[in-house]
């Protein structure tokens, strides 16, 4: 009786990427922020630690609403892309922008937890009203040209993992039977 050889490493498997993965990879360079927006668009007026703070804010808001990690990636992409095209000076506006980006990302990406605008407004750092959030939402959409489908590292990773998952049982079976 021969033992099936299971000493395969994942890398030894001839990995044929799925169409979805190829699609993501072909689109990954689209809808990226300008990496130098801090010095160009914002003219160096942003405080050093403000971006990490805003990203944290996006992340903790998403956590509060129990959104997916994908939503966090999406909202940070929206935030950076907005800041790549429009100068924002006031800290209140920056927080409002971050909250609106999370709201927008959740509307686009969340399936089961639709965000509620009054919650977003209630959880805003500087007491933004519902009207403020709506106005900011429209502004963000306009600046992003309604292109809300960037490819996040997260989406590539999960696609990669799921296609490996799809691939593995059959490949292993083939190897064992041969």
């Amino acid at each position: 009786q021969t033992q099936p050889q299971l000493a395969l490493t994942p890398l030894a498997v001839a990995f044929v990427p799925s169409k979805r993965l190829l699609n993501l990879m072909n689109r990954q360079h689209l809808h990226l922020p300008n990496p130098f927006y801090d010095s160009t668009v914002q003219q160096g007026k942003m405080q050093n630690d403000i971006r990490p703070t805003l990203v944290n804010w996006c992340s903790s808001l998403s956590q509060e609403f129990q959104f997916n990690t994908e939503t966090v990636f999406l909202s940070v992409n929206f935030l950076d892309r907005y800041l790549s095209s429009t100068k924002v000076v006031r800290i209140q506006q920056l927080y409002l922008l971050a909250s609106s980006c999370v709201y927008l990302a959740a509307k686009f990406g969340e399936e089961l937890k639709e965000p509620c605008i009054s919650d977003v407004s209630a959880l805003s750092m500087f007491g933004s009203s519902i009207k403020d959030v709506k106005r900011m939402e429209a502004k963000v959409l306009k600046e992003l040209k309604w292109e809300l489908t960037p490819v996040s590292p997260q989406s590539i990773l999960s696609e990669l993992l799921s296609s490996i998952g799809e691939l593995f049982p059959t490949v292993l079976k083939d190897k064992i039977t041969n």
Partner: protein, 349 residues
């Protein structure tokens, strides 16, 4: 704030490339409405003329009255996904006008595998698959195939196939058309979240046989569907999503293979210039329609046109051959060992 001020409108055009999409929030007065094309769950679509260049566009006015939550989620997804798509058969978003005044992709979403839970409140009721009606959250592309079946049936019948008013009514109509679901034909349906909300034991819900043949045999001036067409509808309107025809299977269906006219590129579609009035013979939907044939009678112009069409039919056949080649080869665009990575090009954007 009055109602019209809260509407959003989207301009769609089938062929044009969007010129200056960004930020050009033109007032909706720049477009002259010519007529109403249709009405969906999410808004009304008008045919309109762009006053600046006299081009015909479609104008979709989104319903916003129920939305306290800013821009409706469905509009957001519809617009941003349509922005990404570029195909001659899919409308192109030209402009979005938000603030004052402003294709059914309202609940389109990015595709994911494995399927993740999604909201069951989707799709115009008439085209909603039974598993979604029963609250399935892990629905798949099979649900779209159901919708395709409903629309194909609608084309054959010349009237909506399942025009339900509310969810229970929708289910009654489905049962009246297809017979009631049983464990044998759809093993898991009683496990679906809302299965116990629908009462399957009422007389209305008891129907043993499918009546689809009678429904599509002759109605509303539409000619009787051919056996192959009927078979395709039946294969699409299967209760169990796992047994429903998928896209690949549908393309291989005998309706497209054994029954003329064969699939071809749009410019090579064979028009019938029959001098005999009325239908008869194989039209697109089996019975053929007489619409339009009356205007195109007689003269050498027709002969020329026919000559041209025959030339194009040759092209159509070549194209068909290509299609066949493509679906013999399951993963034709995935050569093993090909580099999946496109050169990362900073200059491109």
């Amino acid at each position: 704030m009055n109602a019209t001020q809260r509407l959003t409108s989207v301009t769609l055009s089938v062929s044009d490339t969007p010129s200056n999409f960004i930020g050009t929030c033109r007032p909706v007065d720049d477009f002259e409405k010519v007529g109403r094309v249709g009405e969906g769950t999410y808004g009304i679509v008008y045919k309109a003329i762009d006053k600046s260049n006299q081009k015909t566009v479609a104008l979709k006015r989104m319903r916003m009255e129920r939305e306290a939550d800013g821009l409706p989620l469905s509009a957001l997804r519809e617009i941003s996904l349509l922005r990404r798509l570029s195909h001659t058969n899919i409308v192109r978003v030209m402009e979005v006008c938000v603030g004052q005044d402003l294709a059914d992709f309202g609940l389109a979403r990015q595709f994911s595998v494995p399927p993740c839970p999604m909201t069951p409140k989707v799709v115009t009721l008439w085209y909603r698959a039974p598993e979604i009606l029963l609250g399935e959250r892990l629905y798949t592309e099979a649900s779209d195939m159901w919708s395709a079946g409903c629309i194909f049936g609608e084309l054959l019948k010349n009237a909506p196939l399942l025009p339900g008013k509310v969810e229970p009514h929708q289910f009654e109509l489905i049962i009246a058309l297809l017979g009631n679901p049983t464990e044998r034909i759809w093993p898991s349906f009683r496990d679906l979240p809302l299965a116990n909300l629908f009462r399957f034991d009422t007389p209305k819900m008891q129907q043993q046989y499918s009546t689809i043949k009678q429904v599509l045999s002759s109605s509303n001036g539409a000619a009787a569907a051919s056996p192959q067409a009927l078979e395709l509808v039946q294969d699409l309107l299967v209760y169990d999503p796992k047994r429903r025809l998928d896209t690949r299977g549908a393309l291989r269906h005998s309706y497209f293979r054994r029954e003329g006219p064969n699939p071809c590129i749009p410019s090579a579609i064979r028009l019938r210039f029959d001098s005999r009035s009325g239908g008869g013979g194989g039209g697109i939907f089996g019975g053929g329609s007489s619409a339009g044939s009356g205007n195109l009678r007689g003269g050498g112009a027709i002969a020329n046109l026919r000559k041209k069409l025959e030339g194009e039919q040759q092209q159509g056949q070549d194209f068909r051959r290509k299609i066949r080649r493509v679906d013999r080869d399951e993963d034709f665009d995935l050569p093993v060992g090909a580099r999946p990575f496109r050169q990362f090009d900073l200059d491109e954007k």
